[in-house]
Symmetry: C2
């Protein structure tokens, strides 16, 4: 079996050697204007604190106490996580990694862990960028439940275009099994290769589609999850108005209510018709207006992503003189050329630079897509060559977007200059709605060796403050985890947090599941005093 | 001000006189084969039990203890409700009807009512068909909060296509205000004339669109509600993945968590392009296959409703020889003729009987639409002439729909024959999804004077058992209320009900809000023992 890196993205055999890193470092210095000449090598795995609990004999075969396995499961894959892993800093570390192969084993693991007073962290692909799979520092014993062995498509129903899929199936695993039935989920987050279905549902991940069905939420038909109080399973229904949706209470629960075991998902036939175009806008706001007009017309392109000129240059998608709008339509049964044509009628202020049918996607789109899925790999390299590289994202209604964009860029750039001396903050729109958009910001800046975490923390704080004070959400599709909590707590209604905390206490009375992520079960915030605001 | 009927649908001046009722009775007997020759007249309003509490002086001006007002607010408008009101049977009656004009008054009313130990029933248009606004028989004092005075569109944002609308705005009220901005919500349930935005959100009402955006849920941008623990208000966001959606916990809460005060809604520009067609299918299942193929192709017609041959005949939409599929597309900016053409390519097994552009909608569609919005009025007449007339609805995935349809029709017809001796059970699809459909059943049967409630109860019990045992939902868009509780309790996950009950206790510690609707705050069902099922 291929070995995964314990500290970074993907497989160990994909990590470039020192010569290659030196070459990349030189290239990046020329392209970005910063980065170290001499790359740093990842620290060897340190000896971890001994595990504070041991599984009973009956579970030993599916549990690991191995240092490499524990280290790999102790952090997600944010910039902060990679820097810490790269340097061998493991303050917070899980004690046991359990890998159940079926629901009986899942039940046995959860029962044992809760009985032993351990904290339980449900774990999909470990691709969290918000501290979603990391134990709190003051935690007692920690058991991570890695769902990766439960990775099968159990049923595929091509009459109702639905499939029953186990939670631990990664993107490639579930797509390869669905492909055998001519079906596809088409949920392609940047973490596609490693993220799992259960993780996507627990975190309300954003996927392939830039319009209409932007989050995994829209593809969920029913969910089955194991909670400390028993199984929580909804009916398979195409739609329902029977009270509050039980699925919507699991969607976004981030491992605090239960461990998702499987879900019936809405799938589709593989698209055979495709049409795409790239439109250059010399003015960013013309591109924004075009994206808004397209989505407000009622068209629902699969791709409607706008990249600002600087980001296009930095990612080699463009030359930096224009923002790029990537438009694509796809269908298994309808001609889509005409839809693309209709979308382009809203792009008069731009210039169509590429237009392609079917599989032939156009250079800019191809280059961007390549950089999209390679980005997590590249980040490991950035860490090694002294480039701070991280993203943050939000959503805001259209009429507030100009002020939002101005403030977020301004505050974040100021923090970048102050903390790093140099660097860039660029923006793209990843998803668009009739009533607003989801802007996604990328920061690239020079790192000072050993001070990266403080540098990034200062930038992230400024960016998050700007996002929340401008009326946005602290995350459109990256989840809350531990890292976003201070800002999330300013965003969500206090009374709602009280309701949620009570729901968690009812389902998870010992507070075992992912404590501190999303909510504090003890209280949940606000005073609850009746007052008009 | 026009006087509303206290016992039935709409305005008192619309109730037909005795001569007209006799004429209708004769017509219906000829058409249906049953119904009384001599119509019954509605009973005069009886003297109600005296109110068990009185508002303080400061609230007297916005509270009513009047018998007519109390009677009108004590029941919804199901068949059972209308029969009881028609006969003057008011066992369960509210004590005080409060009509706050702004949020300060709403706060004062709620504080007083809870302080006085009363049960509080949030009330929109009172159009519930599931016992959603009726007090439990064993209740103490009851205060109904009628939101009808809070009926304004407070802001309209045509950049983001959003509007801030007060919860008490009825369909016509909010549409007339939005029309001044060239905007429309396009939420047209059958109860359009009287239902309110707040009621629609609280009950997850189904609306205008047969595909894609079927429930009011999809139009909610943010909600503001007053709970006994304070205000619950979410941010205006076009999309978010920040934890569990706070709005989705209010959507479908059916007045058990708070009183919705206002909401930011996604609105749209008024459609200027329309195209529609009616397709006749001599075989029902060919029509079902066509509807499925249309929606699975990715097309999202505004209307995609299939009416079975019997229902078409009974509603004068057809001659009874064919099922009718009504297809319509609409847009404010795109040509829709071609989309209709694409949809019709999936209808080869049928015969296009009408095809119209723009405002010209086609006879069958027009006739059906007319009968759609007149149905609630007609039901009052049915009660007077001895015809049991009621509907029930569900949703099911496509692959289970044939067995579902067969069992539901069979069990319901058997109950109709057994309880009524004669009658019809017909079906239409009101909403369709790529993974399933929402079938809607209509029962017409001869009533025995004074025994209608028992007759209908027997039919409803058989129908609901069939729906639940065949894997459907007890409601796709009529809500749970009190009437659906026994079946809803078999449908929703037990652990979810525990979570919800705990959330309610946290937000509404005295259990004041609509007790018994949707959940029992005391427990919420299931054992919660960990077991695999």
């Amino acid at each position: 079996m291929r070995k995964l890196k314990h500290w970074g993205w993907g497989y160990a055999d994909e990590q470039p050697g020192l010569d290659q890193l030196r070459e990349t470092a030189g290239f990046l210095r020329a392209h970005l204007g910063f980065g170290w000449e001499e790359p740093e090598q990842p620290a060897p795995l340190p000896r971890l604190r001994p595990a504070r609990l041991r599984p009973p004999d009956g579970l030993a075969a599916i549990c690991s106490l191995d240092d490499e396995v524990r280290a790999r499961h102790s952090y997600g894959r944010s910039y902060r996580d990679v820097v810490r892993g790269f340097r061998g800093q493991y303050e917070s570390v899980t004690d046991v990694v359990a890998r159940p192969g079926d629901e009986r084993e899942l039940e046995a693991v959860l029962e044992w862990a809760i009985g032993a007073g351990a904290i339980v962290i449900p774990y999909g692909g470990g691709t969290s960028v918000v501290g979603g799979v990391e134990a709190p520092l003051d935690a007692g014993a920690v058991v991570t439940i890695d769902m990766g062995r439960m990775d099968r498509v159990l049923e595929a129903d091509d009459v109702s275009l639905s499939a029953r899929i186990q939670a631990g199936a990664s993107g490639p695993r579930l797509e390869e099994q669905l492909a055998a039935h001519g079906l596809t989920l088409r949920h392609y987050p940047q973490s596609f290769t490693f993220q799992t279905l259960g993780g996507a549902i627990a975190t309300r991940a954003g996927g392939h589609f830039a319009t209409r069905q932007t989050h995994i939420d829209d593809f969920v038909e029913s969910v089955r999850a194991l909670t400390p109080s028993g199984w929580w399973e909804s009916r398979r229904l195409p739609g329902s108005g029977a009270g509050i949706s039980p699925d919507r209470l699991l969607l976004g629960s981030e491992g605090t209510l239960g461990v998702i075991s499987e879900a019936w998902m809405r799938v589709m036939r593989r698209p055979s018709h495709r049409a795409s175009a790239t439109v250059r806008f010399s003015r960013w706001w013309d591109g924004v207006a075009a994206a808004r007009a397209v989505v407000q017309s009622g068209l629902t392109p699969a791709n409607c992503r706008l990249i600002d000129a600087d980001e296009a240059r930095l990612t080699f998608a463009g030359d930096g003189s224009a923002a790029l709008l990537l438009l694509a339509f796809e269908s298994d049964s309808l001609e889509v050329e005409e839809l693309l044509g209709q979308a382009l009628t809203f792009c008069d202020a731009g210039e169509v630079s590429e237009r392609r049918r079917a599989g032939d996607r156009g250079e800019a789109a191809e280059s961007w897509r390549e950089s999209f899925t390679r980005a997590p790999y590249l980040r490991d390299t950035f860490v090694a060559v002294g480039v701070i590289s991280e993203t943050f994202e939000s959503a805001i209604t259209w009429e507030r977007f100009p002020a939002f964009h101005e403030r977020v860029i301004e505050w974040t750039r100021a923090a970048v200059v102050s903390a790093c001396g140099d660097g860039s903050v660029t923006c793209r729109l990843t998803h668009v709605y009739p009533n607003g958009c989801a802007p996604y910001f990328t920061v690239l800046a020079p790192a000072r060796r050993g001070e990266e975490l403080e540098q990034w923390e200062a930038v992230k704080r400024a960016a998050s403050d700007a996002v929340i004070e401008s009326g946005g959400t602290i995350t459109h599709h990256h989840a809350v985890g531990r890292d976003h909590r201070p800002w999330y707590d300013r965003q969500r209604p206090d009374v709602f947090a009280q309701a949620l905390a009570a729901a968690k206490r009812a389902v998870d009375p010992a507070g075992s599941l992912n404590p501190g992520v999303l909510i504090d079960a003890g209280g949940g915030g606000g005073g609850g005093v009746s007052s008009s605001s």
